[in-house]
């Protein structure tokens, strides 16, 4: 009877330690998860841009659609014990389009929001650009572009929404939740010599992401 009581006491201490360990690692777990989601977001956006460049070319430097080093956006994560919040922002372009001689600095922001752009000739010379038919156009008038970049307005937001609503759940979270529902770390530590400290270590291991993306 005493041995039974001792074993029960150890089991209770181990279980309490496990829960405390898991809880103490929640913020770290969220930080790890946020990093994985950020990396997956970049991979998803880059890959979508390579597969369907018409929709996301405005989010990269000229001629480098889908190239990681040429992104004109970034995503930041803010984590707490119970939450992860993501914020995206656009960066300024520094490259020059093949048909221009100045960088279109706010290219990503302007094209994504679909802001109408008016170009005015500078100085004495006319405005020179390639027309829709491929012919060079010379004009001293202002030129208004209704949808700079083509039909790309809102496409970054739409792809980001696609990532968070369709991709993330099916590709990453479902498996993660399945893993969390089966706490093998608890079973691994169960047995002789279990105590609060061992439970805590196992709880911390349970609340640590294994693996990552590349």
């Amino acid at each position: 009877m005493t041995e039974f009581n001792e074993t029960m006491q150890e089991a209770l201490e181990y279980s309490r330690g496990f829960l405390a360990g898991a809880e103490s690692n929640e913020t770290l777990f969220n930080q790890q998860l946020a990093e994985v989601i950020k990396e997956a977001f970049y991979k998803y956006l880059d890959s979508t841009a390579r597969l369907d460049p018409d929709r996301l070319h405005h989010m990269y430097e000229w001629g480098q659609t889908g190239v990681d080093k040429a992104r004109l956006f970034r995503i930041e994560a803010f984590t707490g014990q119970q939450s992860i919040r993501f914020v995206t922002e656009f960066m300024q372009s520094t490259s020059v389009s093949p048909t221009a001689n100045e960088p279109f600095v706010n290219k990503a922001d302007v094209m994504e929001s679909g802001t109408m752009v008016t170009i005015t000739p500078r100085g004495e010379g006319p405005l020179v650009f390639e027309g829709d038919d491929g012919e060079m156009v010379f004009t001293n008038e202002e030129v208004t572009i209704d949808n700079p970049g083509g039909n790309v307005a809102g496409q970054f937001a739409a792809t980001a929404r696609e990532f968070f609503t369709n991709y993330l759940d099916q590709a990453l979270l479902k498996e993660l939740i399945k893993d969390l529902q089966n706490p093998v770390e608890f079973a691994q530590g169960w047995g002789k010599g279990m105590n609060y400290g061992k439970g805590m270590r196992q709880g911390q291991r349970y609340m640590t992401l294994k693996g990552g993306v590349a």
Partner: protein, 173 residues
């Protein structure tokens, strides 16, 4: 012996070949239209936009992500991003065919392994699943509209777990 005969194939190659072979079983006439070409291309065509090559459905794919799912290193997990370019009817039919053929986890993995055995790709699949990321009525969130766009891009992810084996050429070195 060439490098391509020694190193294992990327998982997309046997998956594409198997997928096309199953489509050929289901509809031999469709495959004949492609004149021996498997319409799965590992590269984009920037000037094509949504329009598939030659007006027939085609797929552009990209190795999107390698995931390290567990501490047992030899088992790899990879996601391959597929963009199906097709008209509205073919988008539905082909998308449904992909799902019907590939979304079978370990059952389809066994079938791909059996189909690829004689090819010696140096890869053994544990499971394969497929899911669609863009919805049927919108492409990347833009409303699909037959009046303005006759072709759609529908995106899928093929999620697979596998490990590499030595190929025959590797063993003979």
């Amino acid at each position: 012996m060439a490098l391509k005969d020694i190193v294992p194939m990327p998982p997309a190659v046997p998956i594409n070949r198997y997928l096309w072979s199953r489509i050929a079983e289901l509809d031999p006439d469709l495959v004949m239209e492609y004149d021996g070409v498997i319409p799965f291309y590992p590269l984009g065509e920037t000037s094509a936009g949504d329009q598939p090559w030659e007006g027939a459905p085609s797929v552009v794919y990209d190795r999107m992500m390698v995931i390290n799912p567990n501490p047992f290193y030899p088992i790899k997990k990879e996601q391959i991003h597929y963009a199906l370019k097709a008209n509205p009817t073919d988008s539905l039919v082909w998308g449904s065919a992909f799902q019907y053929i590939l979304d079978e986890m370990d059952d389809v993995a066994k079938e791909i392994n059996a189909y690829s055995a004689w090819k010696d790709y140096g890869i053994f699949f544990h499971n394969v699943r497929l899911f669609q990321t863009s919805s049927q009525v919108s492409s990347s969130g833009a409303q699909r509209n037959y009046a303005t766009s006759q072709y759609y891009v529908t995106k899928f992810i093929i999620d697979t777990t596998y490990h590499y084996n030595d190929r025959a050429a590797q063993q003979s070195l």
